[in-house]
Symmetry: C2
Subunit: 327 residues, 2 copies
Amino acid sequence: MEFIEYYNRLRQIVEDELATLVTQERPRTLYEPIRYILSGGGKRVRPILSMMACEAVGGNPLHALHAGIAVEVLHNFTLVHDDIMDTAHMRRNRPTVHKKWNENAAILAGDCMMPIAYQILLKTPSLSHLPELITAFNTGVIDVCEGQAYDLEFEQERDVMLNDYLLMIEKKTAKMLELAVVAGALIGNAQQEHIDALRRYALAVGTGFQIQDDLLDATANEAEFGKRIGGDIIEGKKTFLILHATQKATKPDDKALLQKFYDEQGLLPDDVPLMIDLFHRLDIINTTQCEVERSMHHAHEALQALPDNAGRKMLAHFAEMLVQRTS
Amino acid sequence: MEFIEYYNRLRQIVEDELATLVTQERPRTLYEPIRYILSGGGKRVRPILSMMACEAVGGNPLHALHAGIAVEVLHNFTLVHDDIMDTAHMRRNRPTVHKKWNENAAILAGDCMMPIAYQILLKTPSLSHLPELITAFNTGVIDVCEGQAYDLEFEQERDVMLNDYLLMIEKKTAKMLELAVVAGALIGNAQQEHIDALRRYALAVGTGFQIQDDLLDATANEAEFGKRIGGDIIEGKKTFLILHATQKATKPDDKALLQKFYDEQGLLPDDVPLMIDLFHRLDIINTTQCEVERSMHHAHEALQALPDNAGRKMLAHFAEMLVQRTS
């Protein structure tokens, strides 16, 4: 089967099941925001990863459907709360929950999604690995909270090191992908060696994905990217490119531009081309591209520890899909 | 053993264990607020209830220690988020988390406490009832979120019925006590009949406690109460007394005073004695006292279904302690 056909089939299964899972009506100020965020689409990466991982270790992918949806619900809970903290107004081309309702509704909706997620997890056909599953879920949520706390701390700090940044994106982005594959693998009764391989795969894919995201801000085709190039530079985000440039810059002009970026917490739109030019001159674009490729290499290498089957093939395609995106 | 001695002994065990459970240092903006709220004292009602319930069904109370502490951590998570939503500045004589740090830190600390609670639950010596325990925890958190959502909705509504109010306090207050006893009972391998009895007990105690809380605002001795009488009346809170008075008032003057309370979302301090006088004249104080006693009667009646042992005796004392408080 073609990967894209396989992916879309699983995605439809996820959408159909997800639509049946939260049907309560009252209190309206609680359940309307929850249904709103859960119906907002997205690629449903996490449940599909759970199912592929389950298949890769020899399990029935559908047995991992509810665990995967539970991870998706947790992911959406973190989005609702992150959007409050980041005062984001739009998400997936729609107003964020706290803009459409209010902050209190967004706090409560997020809070309630966590027990809803754990309850969905309990729909898994066999609960023989329940303690490990619950531990993986707990660890995943704790990691995401730690990642978000570091992200907020780094906004206030001048001296963020590249390693701090990599730890932060690992916790904030990669750990939920790790949870998705570990849950799928546990449900597929995987051997420890296969669980460990899937863990390495997910961490590599998640890190590569996030660094690619940083890269696209400086290199994407604006029409395909769907947002203005250099948004991160304007917002003052300490991305992989910025932190790398900070370590590498030696010329006074370059150091002054970076200093301006830090002092003014971002650059004016007119100055964006200067920073992108700096990225090219210091070979940051190229190094970042190599870092993404290195992550992908790690991901494919990790998959070698798994049996050669359809699930493993799909996981390989999936890694490619995530980094070949242009938006 | 004297009840108070028994209670304090269990409380010390809870404090000692709780102090060992969250020891991570970084990120500081995440773990400092969590340790702050968890070290804030309080009566530790929920873990003690879990242990007493476990003992009442014939189990070892210490086996319910971690489940009870997990409920306590969840309870504290709801306090941190409720304080943001209610813009409360003080809690247990200290600044609230969002005042001492900021709103983002308070959102994240609360978020992280939920998986921490579930992880503490997993320290329970036997996990043979884990699916039921997790379901009870999920239901408890969902109920508290629903209760808080109703509470916020009722602030905006003119026509809140006494039954709506009773449903709200059941969800917001009583359901966490229910969770505490059900968890203890499950860990003590209780029969279904005993679990159901403890459930009825907790719901009665929780409802009685909350109505008593409303009553104290109008009747307590200010010195013992530790806060000004009539605070709820000034803040415009739709308490059991207010809602009952609204149903009962017929005289134009009384209706006008209640109308003023609703229109201006509370009364000025000088008008508080008028409302308290109205409560007395319409027999609201007396009816409310009877309602608290009726709840206590239900609680004691529920305990009759349990074997007559030390745990049951302590649960009976506990119910008395909660409503005999003057603050």
